[in-house]
């Protein structure tokens, strides 16, 4: 890629790549965890009221 320097081409840029992949994983993992947690609360049977 050194030939690209000064040719108007993009060199490197891995920091942008990691940021996008990191954000993608952060969003899908967090959203999945929240969805599963809410489902567990909503779908588990309610405890019986104390007599």
């Amino acid at each position: 890629m050194e030939d690209a320097v000064g040719q108007g081409m993009i060199v490197g840029g891995w920091e942008y790549v990691w940021l996008v992949y990191g954000a993608t994983w952060a969003v899908v993992v967090t959203y999945t965890a929240i969805a599963l947690s809410k489902a567990q609360k909503a779908l588990s049977p309610a405890p019986e009221a104390p007599r």
Binding site: I10, G13, W25, V28, A35, L43
Partner: protein, 232 residues
């Protein structure tokens, strides 16, 4: 364990393999170099976001047609997943724009229509939360979803209709053979994850609606919207 958990597990495994290939196996882009690897994260997110919002539109038409709360819950779950993915794709796109266009944001037709789409579906989800009556909520959600969906074909066609900084729609036909496998795999991975989350959210929303319906003064379906039965 429900089937949607399998969909989520398969999706995450496929996404790990696809992203590994996109980062370390696929060649760097001829023009963009390694920054082009953002392609394997951004494009599948965009595809699946539009698929989810289109499915939400189908759910909205269905819930208006039959007045069933299960369709209302599906519309909401799909709209929610589509909205989250649209927000993610806007972030991914902004990060990709910086090294390639020199700016994080441009009021370009594709970017602007995508931002409008995100705002409109956020509005749908907010609107739903402020309506108390389940019947009215079903109607409001469905109509708002249908209105917001109008922007989906505009987003897709924006790069064809207007001059845009953004490239035309990507597909396996528009990219090199070496990019096919990670691209397809990442697309299916995102689809499986999106379906898994949408079904999980649908079950949760249905549980809430069932609790609401358990109250004696609430019907289990919206009587004013049973268009098919009324016409029969």
């Amino acid at each position: 364990m429900r089937w949607e958990h399998g969909s989520l597990g398969l999706g995450f495994i496929l996404l790990g393999i696809a992203h590994y290939m996109g980062l370390f196996v696929a060649p760097s882009d001829a023009m963009m170099g390694d920054v082009g690897r953002i392609f394997y994260a951004h494009v599948p997110t965009a595809w699946v976001a539009l698929v989810m919002l289109t499915a939400s539109f189908v759910g909205a038409v269905g819930s208006l047609w039959n007045g069933r709360y299960t369709w209302d819950a599906a519309t909401t779950a799909l709209a929610e997943v589509g909205t989250v993915l649209t927000g993610l794709l806007l972030f991914q796109g902004a990060i990709w724009a910086k090294p390639t266009w020199g700016v994080f944001w441009s009021w370009d037709p594709r970017l602007t229509s995508s931002a409008v789409l995100f705002v409109m579906f956020v509005a749908v989800l907010i609107l739903r939360r402020v309506v108390d009556s389940p019947e009215r909520r079903l109607t409001v959600t469905a109509i708002a979803t249908i209105v917001a969906f109008v922007d989906v074909p505009i987003v897709y066609m924006s790069v064809k209709w207007w001059n845009s900084l953004h490239q035309t729609p990507s597909s396996p036909k528009t990219v090199s053979d070496t990019m096919h496998l990670p691209l397809r795999m990442a697309a299916f991975a995102m689809l499986f994850i999106a379906i898994g989350i949408a079904v999980t959210r649908w079950r949760t929303i249905m549980a809430g609606l069932t609790l609401e319906a358990a109250a004696p003064d609430l019907p289990t379906r919206a009587p004013t919207l049973s268009l098919r039965e009324e016409g029969a």
